[in-house]
Point group: C2
Chain length 112, copies 2
């Protein structure tokens, strides 16, 4: 079987940050935990996405020292980011609903 593509990475990242500020590494761990390891996001996937979100003004980064003495780069969801999250959620529900409708044989999705 082929490898399952990640997809919807932005939605997942935004959703994670919707709850609390997080740093990249933490997001990967959390995503794996919350999805029961269905999502095993790679650094090579997440970091470019975070940088993109930052450039778009959806997240803001700040550095904070961890209890261990190490510096971490935390990401905070901006207002604009929260709107984007809501939009992406809608988009996901629409998408998932449409897939399910097709699988059921086209029982009909709500009109858009």
């Amino acid at each position: 079987m082929k490898k399952k593509a990640m997809e919807h990475t932005r939605l997942l990242a935004l959703s994670l940050l919707g709850g609390e500020d997080m740093y990249g590494y933490q997001m990967i761990i959390e995503l794996a935990r919350r999805s029961n390891h269905v999502f095993d996001m790679k650094e090579g996937t997440l970091y470019p996405v975070l940088h993109g979100l930052e450039q778009e003004g959806f997240v803001e980064a700040y550095r904070k020292e961890a209890p261990t003495g190490r510096e971490r780069k935390y990401y905070h969801l901006t207002r604009k980011g929260r709107e984007a999250l809501r939009e992406e959620e809608r988009s996901w529900k629409r998408y998932a609903g449409a897939v399910d409708a097709v699988l059921r044989g086209g029982a009909g999705v709500e009109p858009v």
Copy 2:
């Protein structure tokens, strides 16, 4: 807002053929209808996918004349294809369930 990528095209194609034999153009129309135009698949997307499915032995093509006198190329789901459909459906449910779990804040997905 960025364009939403199709994704899971194979699943959708297999699912359409799970009901009855169809020809490519018909699949595009049907998919749009059943998904209420959430999916507006392009020929440039579908045909390569169909050819791939054929090469893998998931579908078999045959030509049949339409009432209009025109020739159409119908695709039929093989046994192997039906298995692939079931597998893709499982995969989709797993994926969608995991996304929903993350959106809910990680209420927990069934272990895999």
